[in-house]
Amino acid sequence: MNLWRRVASLVLGLTAGLMLAGCWSSKEIDQLSVLIGVALDRNESKNAASEGRLEVTIQTLTTGASSLNSQGQGQTTSKPYINMIATGNSVYEAIREMSLRTDKPPIGHHLKAIVVSADLAKHNSLENLLDFFMRDNDIRPGSLVFVSSGQANRVFELKRSEEIPSFHMAGITENRYRTSKILPPTTLGKIKGEIKGGSSMLLPNIIVRDGKLKLSGAGVIRGKTKKLVGLLSEEEVLGVVWATGSGKGGVMSAVDPATKRPLVYEVNSMHSTIRSFVSGDRVSFNVSIRSIGRMMENWSKPEESSNQQFLDDQTKLFERKILDLVEQTIEKVQRQYKTDVLGFGDRLRIEHPRAWERLKANWDERFAEADIRTDVKIRIEDYGLVVE
């Protein structure tokens, strides 16, 4: 009896041990390819073999072992990544089509960048294009979304082969403390809310220049159609950052009208307050921008750098410059694109919720007619390590 019990418990214990040995559906990491970037383009080839509207390019990391194996695929040398292109009518379909060509299933946990070509975004709703990425269980809401005014998959091919484009792209967006020409990160999670809520938004525009990546301006996405309506230049993105006070640092240069020589103001902090006013169906906004910083380069009158009168004059110069920039930017999104990407509607929702309920159905038209006044005040606090 006692012996039986012992044998039974031993067998049971061993069986339980078997269950602990590993995961039910585990896959070894060197048998997977890590998906880090996806580019979506319009399929323009008339080739019968490449059917479908979309041309999907995926970028995966290669491990040491896999780059040896991939010589059979004709991949050249030491690049740490592989790009693969497939076509299809939907994103997921195209990605899965690649399983016919590689033995390593891609995993989405580390997807960093999704690049949509402007051409594609002009004709297709972003809600459809990004649907797969928003639904998938591996892909994280922290992945960044870009548009590209050129061909999207070109940003996945850089001249320097040791650099990984998807990581590089994500890295550039972290430079917001150095330049104000970068928008706050547009993550998949944030975009999900904006798409579902029907708000307009800006997506950073990534392009290739001289074989290198460059963040250049932004694409304007209209909330109602969720399609791209146009692009903003780098200067206009700078205007957006000032208007919304979202910058973390950067510089602003101006030309002294007296000497025709440049002066540079370095931003320590910027802040913007948008206030909304409603009378009937007319809405108006006040944008007040405040900033503190220092004079960091003075080509105009080096000998007067620390003179308070000079600094006061230059303060006005920079204020004028910022004001012009912001007004031009607002003018452009208001009159040309008729799309509220600066969050004016959100201010109205917060400050006049009932008016917003009434106006939100045709908000883009209302916004285009809105009266927007801007004022700018900056303070130059110091002038670095040189005193005259």
Partner: protein, 364 residues
């Protein structure tokens, strides 16, 4: 030393049981379900009101149970309302506990399969989960209480860390305006948020084991308030982090929130598995306490031993958990259970309490 025969719990243990029971599937879904109903960022107000209602209903149940020290509802219900009515109500409650147990198991399986163990069959996850559960339940209320005392601090610490980290993407403006469209949107969400506080009904049973039954109302107030703090933090952080529209568009908004940011340079970059860990522990505690309640109810009602019932209910719970064909049906099952609970624990205990007070007066 405590032995297995110790069947008394302290007031503090009762509070812990109540909190662990309340916190369950709602942590992951409440921001969405309530945002859908309310439609303005005032969701947190609806959570507060829901908590208040739960305290009121729970106090009625606690008061009722405290009148019959040492007895569970299933024992004293026949004294109050007669054998037939008491029996039918008790039976309904047993069915309720079984179905909520099944619902929790199913939700756990859905989330685990989707986020953690893709490819492992549902039944494999569920069966392992349930076996561990029955192991705990067969020991009675005392081991349950002691395990819950371990689970709760872990839950609080990890929840605090994870949610505080999400302050990185928190934007206070997303919670504004407060009451911009008046109070009526808030009222629309009250039912949903009240149902997130399902749990005080356990007072109908555990009051019988309390060393000091009169403290039962204190247990309800304390337990529901602490659970409300959890829910409040969840709803505020999710809406502040993802925006109202983002919360509305996510199947599991709280997981989405935690997945939305990464920390570089720390030991861990990603925190969703931590959140899922404490969440599974909470589901486990809700599953075990409802299984215990169902089996205890049946054993008191039919005056038979406790353990056979616990083992018998296990396959029934498993089958019920496998019943919903898809995720919509799963959510629907949750809604139906909530609707039933509203009557079973909102109205019935009040009637019983009134009846009980009247009987007492007659005697006097």
């Amino acid at each position: 030393m405590n032995t297995g025969s110790n069947n008394q719990i302290s007031t503090q243990q009762a509070i812990v049981i109540l909190i662990n029971y309340i916190l369950a599937a709602g942590i992951l879904t409440l921001p969405r379900t309530s945002a859908e109903q309310v439609g303005t960022p005032d969701v947190w107000l609806a959570v507060l009101i829901g908590g208040g209602i739960a305290i009121a209903a729970g106090s009625v149940m606690a008061r009722l149970s405290a009148r019959y020290p040492g007895q569970t509802f299933f024992q004293y219900s026949s004294v109050i309302a007669g054998r037939w009515i008491g029996g039918i109500v008790s039976l309904a409650m047993i069915v309720y506990f079984i179905s909520i147990s099944a619902f929790e198991v199913r939700t756990m399986a859905e989330v685990t399969c989707f986020f953690l163990l893709e490819g492992t069959p549902n039944w494999a996850i569920v069966i392992a989960f349930m076996w561990v559960g029955i192991y705990l339940v067969s020991g009675g209320i005392d081991p349950i209480a002691r395990l819950f005392e371990i689970i709760l601090p872990i839950t609080i610490i990890i929840f605090a860390i994870v949610t505080l980290l999400s302050m990185r993407i928190f934007d206070f403006e997303r919670l504004r305006p407060v009451l911009g469209l008046g109070f009526s949107p808030v009222l629309k969400g009250v039912k949903t948020t009240t149902l997130a506080f399902l749990g005080p009904e356990i007072m109908l049973i555990i009051t019988a084991f309390m060393k000091r039954p009169p403290a039962a109302i204190k247990v309800v107030v304390g337990g529901v308030s602490i659970a409300a703090a959890f829910y409040l933090a969840t709803v505020i952080l999710v809406i502040g982090g993802l925006s109202l529209d983002g919360a509305r568009a996510s199947t599991w908004p709280t997981i989405d929130l935690i997945r939305s940011f990464e920390l570089k340079g720390l030991l861990l970059e990603r925190f969703d598995s931590l959140l899922l860990t404490i969440w599974i522990m909470q589901i486990f505690s809700t599953f075990t306490i409802t299984l215990y309640a169902a089996a205890k109810g049946a054993s008191d009602l039919f005056k038979r031993e406790f353990k056979p019932f616990a083992y018998c209910f296990l396959p029934i719970i498993f089958l019920c958990a496998m019943l919903p064909k898809n995720i919509n049906e799963t959510f629907q099952l949750g809604d139906t259970i909530g609707d039933i609970a509203l009557y079973l624990f909102g109205v019935v205990p009040l009637l019983f309490l009134v009846l009980s007070l009247l009987r007492r007066r007659k005697k006097g």
